[in-house]
């Protein structure tokens, strides 16, 4: 077992797998983080990822370029984000209910549109996805696609915007103390809306990674809970982008590890135990890390202007 682990860790292919598995989680986690820093929980992520995976892929299938597909996925995410914003910010409805509703709505609409577009196919149609960046000539990164690079680059960008710009200050302020933000002349609802739309666009791209890079076709259930993991990772990350990256990498590390240990397991643990491993280890890490986490003070509290 120890030998197997050591061999695994020394293999560059393993670390490539970690980055591949982590990419949609990094994008999704940044998306959730943006929404939550502005005080809005977005449980629509699972469905928004499905919708982004579908529309991005559909655009490319219809002849658009891959990057146009990514933009289409982002726009789809933004549109559902806008809907979530209207429900939770303008109408001040329950963020849990609205989010879960968006997840159900977005995934059903995506599947409906898929079936309307492709009523009679035996195997799902495929596209030519992003290819590995062989030209990069760096050990682990050259085995990735440009979307992974984009995800990694977005981490410092989001961190910088949140912590070093007036815009980021506004986002954090409406998430901590919306009344104070209002007192500064900021429109709480506009800032929250913007954060939800931007965060949801990232979720759409996270979904598109699955159909434009990790695979080349759309399957209905292919998001398979990755969105929910992002929601948990944000807590793990104490709402900080850098830690979000670390959390996504950690989960991906455990997942890539269980796939390798499961296959070499000669009649030992049941396969379910291996599949469970990344989740269990993430919960353990969550307990260790998140005890000192301070969440945005106005998270899940709708802001109604003039109300005390």
């Amino acid at each position: 077992m120890v030998d197997a682990l050591a061999a695994m860790l020394a293999n560059a292919d393993f670390w490539s797998a970690v980055l591949r598995v982590a990419t949609p989680l990094v994008l999704g986690t940044l998306g959730v983080l943006l929404c939550e820093r502005a005080g809005v929980l977005n449980l629509g992520i699972e469905g928004i990822m499905v919708a982004g995976a579908f529309t991005g892929w559909l655009a490319v299938h219809a002849g658009a370029s891959l990057w146009t597909g990514v933009l289409v996925a982002a726009a789809t995410g933004a549109a559902f984000g806008l809907l979530h914003g209207v429900l939770t910010v303008s109408l001040a409805l329950s963020q849990h209910v609205a989010g879960l509703g968006i997840t159900m709505f977005a995934s059903s609409v995506a599947y409906y549109a898929y079936r309307v577009s492709f009523p009679n196919v035996s195997t799902p149609p495929t596209i030519q996805p992003f290819v590995e960046m062989r030209w990069l000539e760096l050990p682990v990164l050259s085995a990735q696609t440009p979307l992974t690079l984009l995800a990694l680059a977005l981490v410092p960008v989001v961190a910088w915007v949140l912590n070093r710009t007036p815009l980021g200050l506004a986002v954090r302020m409406v998430g901590e103390n919306p009344a104070a933000a209002e007192g500064q002349g900021l429109s709480v609802s506009a800032v929250r809306m913007g954060a939800i739309v931007a965060g949801s666009a990232l979720m759409g791209v996270a979904g598109a990674f699955l159909t434009l890079s990790a695979f080349n076709a759309f399957f209905f259930n292919m998001v398979n809970g990755r969105g929910w993991i992002c929601v948990a990772l944000v807590v793990f990350a104490s709402w900080r982008p850098g830690k979000a990256l670390a959390g996504a990498l950690l989960f991906a590390f455990f997942d890539a590890m269980q796939l390798r240990l499961q296959q070499a397991d000669v009649g030992g643990l049941p396969y379910q135990a291996w599949l469970m491993l990344p989740y269990v280890l993430s919960i353990v890490a969550l307990i260790a890390v998140a005890r000192r986490a301070s969440y945005p003070q106005a998270l899940m509290k709708p802001y109604r202007k003039g109300e005390r």
Binding site: T123, T126, L210, F215, A217, M222, Q263, V266, L275
Partner: protein, 333 residues
């Protein structure tokens, strides 16, 4: 107020339309009305075979065919009842996860015939069962795989270890051992029917460890093999057209013998509770080893000869592939 009035109008229109739909008499009275209920989308390998056979019957003009896909287990009984109420005389589906409910519905509608994918027994008077007993071509595809591997390591990625998956994996492994006693296996289950990226990751992990032939039970595995220049063996459907340089052989499931037999029985009023499992065997053309196609010249001659001999032995009833429903385990470290 305006809103409510609009709603009322819309509702009235909808109801009127629904009534019209009911009032129009069915135009093809003599055609058998068949309904299928699937728990997954019709692209899923397993269900796609049933869908294809029913569509073929529809195109021949024998039946009227309607179906519901992606029906949740919790809704399954309701959808079954709806189709039975609507006058369908044959209902096809998969009752693996809703065995008790499906059998209860069958009892409540004795005039409707039910043909369900099931691990259970047929039930009087109108509940027949089928399953994908395609272990014979799976064995043959294993023989091809054993003859093609150079590293003597074969990787197998599955969704869940249910009998329908296990029996084919065991048959495949036995076949591979028959042509290559030195071969060892990696087995991984990904805990999902629809997660091609994850299936691909599992396949990559096997290729890292030296597997050069992959058993593609899930979508995604052949893609990993193609990218890394390895080989794959198809299962249930033939994916060689999509992966001409990757998929060597496939164990095909043909649902036509099962479906056609059921349609004929219903038409003649002779539908009986029966196990249709045998109609998925090679003897009844319910399964076959797909033509080697692009790999015709690439598979070693002696292996092809051995496969053809075994194929004949199966068809002549001289060789039976063992059915083993237990969960397969890795044999390679």
């Amino acid at each position: 107020m305006l809103k409510r009035r609009v709603w009322l109008k819309a509702t009235a229109v909808t109801v009127a339309m629904a009534l019209c739909a009911f009032a129009v008499p069915s135009q093809a009275q003599n055609k058998l009305k068949v309904a299928a209920i699937y728990t997954v989308p019709v692209e899923q390998q397993w269900v796609s075979r049933i869908h294809k056979a029913l569509n073929a019957a529809k195109d021949r003009g024998e039946i009227e065919y309607v179906f519901s896909e992606k029906v949740a287990n919790a809704d399954y009984e309701r959808v079954m009842r709806e189709y039975a109420e609507k006058g369908n005389t044959l209902v096809v589906g998969e009752s693996f996860a809703v065995e008790a409910a499906a059998r209860k519905v069958a009892k409540d509608y004795p005039k409707v015939s039910f043909l369900m994918g099931s691990s259970g027994k047929p039930q009087a008077p109108n509940f027949s069962v089928f399953d994908n007993y395609i272990q014979e071509p799976a064995y043959l595809s294993g023989m091809v795989a054993g003859g093609m591997t150079k590293s003597n390591r074969i990787g197998m990625v599955g969704g869940y270890p249910i009998p329908e998956v296990n029996r084919l994996m065991h048959a495949f492994m036995a076949g591979a051992k028959a042509t290559n006693p030195k071969v060892e296996f990696y087995v991984t289950f990904i805990g999902s029917w629809f997660d091609p990226p994850k299936a691909k990751e599992a396949a990559y992990a096997m290729i890292e460890k030296g597997a050069d032939v992959l058993y593609a039970e899930r979508f995604g595995v052949s893609d990993a093999a193609k990218e890394k220049g390895k080989l794959a063996i198809g299962n249930v459907i033939n994916t060689q057209p999509q992966y001409p340089d990757t998929v060597v052989a496939s164990a095909l499931w043909n649902m036509e013998p099962t479906i056609d037999r059921a349609i004929k029985a219903v038409k003649e009023g002779k539908f009986k509770p029966e196990d249709y499992g045998p109609y998925s065997t090679m003897k009844h053309k319910g399964s076959e080893l797909a033509p080697l196609g692009t790999f015709e010249a690439k598979v070693p001659k002696d292996v092809v000869e051995k496969v053809r001999a075994k194929e004949k032995a199966i068809l002549d009833g001289k060789f039976a592939v063992k059915v083993n429903d237990a969960e397969p385990k890795s044999t390679a470290k």
